[in-house]
Amino acid sequence: MSSARWMDIVGATALGVLLLLAAFSQETYTLKVILWISLNILAAVALRFVMLTGELNIATAAFWGIGAYAAGILTAWYEIPFTLAILLGGLIPMVISVAFGYVTLRTKGPYFMLISFAFTEVVRLIYTQTEIIGGNSGMIGIYSPRWLDPYYSLLVVACTILLVGTMFWLERSAFGRLLKAIQNNDAVVESVGLDVQKIKIICLALASFAAGVGGALFAHANRVISPGDFSFLVAVYALAYVKIGGEKHVAGAIIGAIALTLLNQYVISFGHYEHLLFGGAIVVAMLILPNGLIGLIERLTEFYGARRSGGSSRPQEAIDG
C-alpha cells in the first residue's frame, strides 16, 4: 500500500475517533478538549489549503477573527439564528478575502507572507480601537442555543469533518492538481492560458470560508472573544500543527493539531512553565522531525512493509543490500 493511502487511513481514523468520542463521551472536559482539537485542525487545514499554491497565508488568522466577530455580533446583538450566524461567519470573511486576494495575490513568497501578516495586525488593532465591539476587552455574551450545549463539541467535529473532507476532496481533484502546478511553476500555468491569480483567489476564498466558520464556532464555544485571540499567533500555531504533523498530506495537519493541542493541555498545569515547555516542544519537533510526524509514520510503514514482503520495496535499498 502506498504511503499516501496509509496517510488517508490515518487521517480518516483520527477524525473518526474524534467523532465517536464527541458523540458518546459524557465527560465535559474530554468534550472540551475534542472541541479545541477540532478547531485547531480546521485552522491548520485552512492554512495548508493555501499553502498548496505555495503561499504562506498569515491572514488565515485575520479571517478566523473576522468570522468570530461577525458571528458574535450577529448572535449577541441581532439574535440571528445560530446556523445562519455560523454560515455568515464563513461567508463574510470569504467575501473580504476575495477583495484582499485581488489586491495582494500578485505578490509572492516572503512578500505575500509579510503583507498577510501586516493585514492581520491591522485588523486586530482596529478591533482594539473599536469601542462598540468592546475594544481591547472584547465582546462577551456570545451564546449558542441552550439545547445545543451538550452537543456543541459534536457539532464542531461534524463541521470540521465536513470542511476538511471538502478541502481534501478538492486537493485530490483537478483543482488541487492545478494548485500544486501553480506552486511548482506558475509561469508555466499562466502560459497555458489560465488566470493564475484568479485561481489563487478562489483557493484563498475557500480556505477563508473554512477559517471564518472556525472562528464563528470558536466565538460561540468560548462565549467571549477579544482582539488578543486573533493575532498572527493563530496562524503561527496552525503552521506549527501543519509543519510538525507533516506538510505533505492533510493527515499531517490533523495529527499535528491533535498532538500539539494535547501537549498544550498538559503544559497548562505547569503554570509559568507553559510557554517554555510548549515552545521547547516546537523547537525540538522542528529539529528532529523534518518531515513531521507523518514522515515518521511513513518511515515506519515503509520499514515494516519491506520486512513483510521479505525484501525491500525500494529498488535502491535492494541494491545496497
Partner: protein, 294 residues
Amino acid sequence: MDLVAQLVVNTLQIGSVYVLFALGLTLIFGVMQIVNFAHGEFFALAALVVASLMPALSASLGLPLWADFLIALVAAIGAVIILGALTYWIGFERYLRDLVGSFILSVGLILFLQGVLVEIFTATPRPIEPIVPGTISILGGRITAQRLLVIGLAIAFTTMLYLLLQKTKLGKALRAVAQDREAAMLQGIRYRRISFYGWLIGVVMAGLAGALIAPLTVSQPAIGGDYLIKAFIIIIIGGLGSIPGAILGALLVAFIESVFGYYYDLTMATIVMFVIVMIFLLVRPQGLMGHVER
C-alpha cells in the same frame, strides 16, 4: 517647550534604538533570507543582563557609572553571542533560506526563550540609574543627557557597522552574498561560514540596542515584542536587506510614532504604519532602498 523641536527630539531618540534593532534584522534577512522573529529575545537578553549587572557592579566595584555600564555591556554582548551561536548551530543552520521553517523555529524559540528569561531574571521590571544625569534643551526640545548619549552611541555603532560592511573583506563577502548568493559562491565565498558571521553580527546589533535601552526604560523579559513588530515594519519600508533603508525606515517610523502619538494616539500610529507597509509591499516591494527581486 517648543512643540516642533520636542517632536523632532522625540523622533531622534526613539529612532536611534529602532535603527540598531532593525539593522541586525535586515542584515540577517539579506544574508540568510530568513525572517528572525526571535530577534527581540536577544534584545531583551542584553537589556536584562545590563539591568541586572549594573546595580551589582556599582555597589561592589566603586568605579564610575560609565565604567560599570561598559563592563555590563560587554557581558551582555557576550551572552548574546553565546545564545546566537547556540541557536544557529542547533537550529537556524538547517533552515537557511527556508522562510517557513525558520519562521516556525523562531516562534518556538520566542516562547521557549521567554520562559527561560523569566526563569533566570524573573519578570520584575528593572530600571537602572541614568549613567549621565541631567536634562538638556536643544532649540526648545527637552531631552535627557542620557538619551543624547544613546543617540551618540547609536550613531557610533551604526557607523562601525557601515565601515565593517564597506571596508572589510568580511563586509564585502556579506554584501556579495546578499546581492547574489550563487555568484558569490562561484567566487569562492563560503556561504555557510558567511551566514554564521552575518547571523552573529545581526544578533549583536540587537544586543547593542538592548544594552543601550536598559538605562532608558524598565527591562523585563517581554520588552522584545513591541520592538520586533516595529522592526519588521521598518525593514519592509526600508527595503529587506538594505542597511541605508533600515536607517531611513527607522527614522520614518519614529517620526510617525512621535507625531501621530502626539496628535492622535500610538495605536493609530501603528495602524497607519501597517497600512503603509501593505502599500509598499504592493507597489514597491523592495522598499525605499532595497533591490528588486528577480
